[in-house]
Symmetry: C2
DNA sequence: TCGTAAACGTGAATGATTCTTATTTACGAC
DNA sequence: GTCGTAAATAAGAATCATTCACGTTTACGA
């Protein structure tokens, strides 16, 4: 938002939160995290804006873990690890999917591929 | 089931269907596909058995597409393409995630990785 | 000050999935 | 064969994440 404007206050807070955290939160988590600072925030607003950000490509969905969709405000491609015990998602910045695989996938699928997700699943140290 | 036994009739039909198709169906799709042959099949049975198969490692979940979970009866690791238009999931048998990446991920995540999913997203020829 | 459109809060609606409960089924012991 | 038991099931209610509908608030420009 423009400085001094109160327009889009909540929308911006939601996006800022998603961009700041590395927790890959759910909508509920975003809501719970912002509620103390923004007492009149509603869950509907969180869902509405998250869905807007997704459309605009400002955030990405990481899919659902235990039936709850998770989001990432860091849109440059990276690899994830999901703990099947506690549901924690963490970034694996040390690994990369070679860009050229997208082209290979396009060819094999006979489709227009625009991105891919590489996700490892297992149990973190705390969960086993 | 043992030959000659009628025990586990529906359970086996569900597993057989999942192993036979390459459609990566949802629970609803499994139900609709088997209903004609098994008129007294119920959706609850499909969900119950799918959840059992998942636990036992007989099938894998591919995550949700448009809010609906999808399953694969082919449990050896392979790559998928998901069309964001029509929701079709197809196999990319020509591509592989090198086994040794699991070890690298274990190391970086400090966790016990047991499998990974590589999924490309885009639009199939019919959808654009 | 007024009009307008975007953003929002609230609560109802939706829909996939899970749970509950009573029923059916197969099989072993007698 | 009959009875007891445990697994599998059908049916429908319940749950819960997400979306929708609608009336209200807010900011800004005319």
């Amino acid at each position: 938002m423009e400085p001094g404007s109160k327009h889009f206050r909540k929308r911006d807070a939601i996006l800022a939160y998603l961009r700041t955290t590395d927790q890959h939160p759910s909508a509920e988590t975003v809501y719970a995290s912002l509620k103390p600072q923004i007492p009149d925030l509603s869950l509907g607003t969180v869902y509405r804006n998250i869905s807007l950000f997704k459309q605009q490509g400002l955030i990405v969905s990481l899919g659902s873990v235990n039936g709850v969709e998770r989001y990432d405000g860091n849109i440059d491609p990276h690899v994830h690890f999901v703990c099947t015990g506690c549901g924690t998602i963490s970034d694996l910045h040390g690994m990369h999917v070679p860009e050229e695989l997208n082209a290979a996938a396009s060819r094999e699928a006979d489709a227009m591929v625009d991105h891919c997700h590489l996700t490892f699943h297992g149990r973190c140290r705390e969960c086993c």
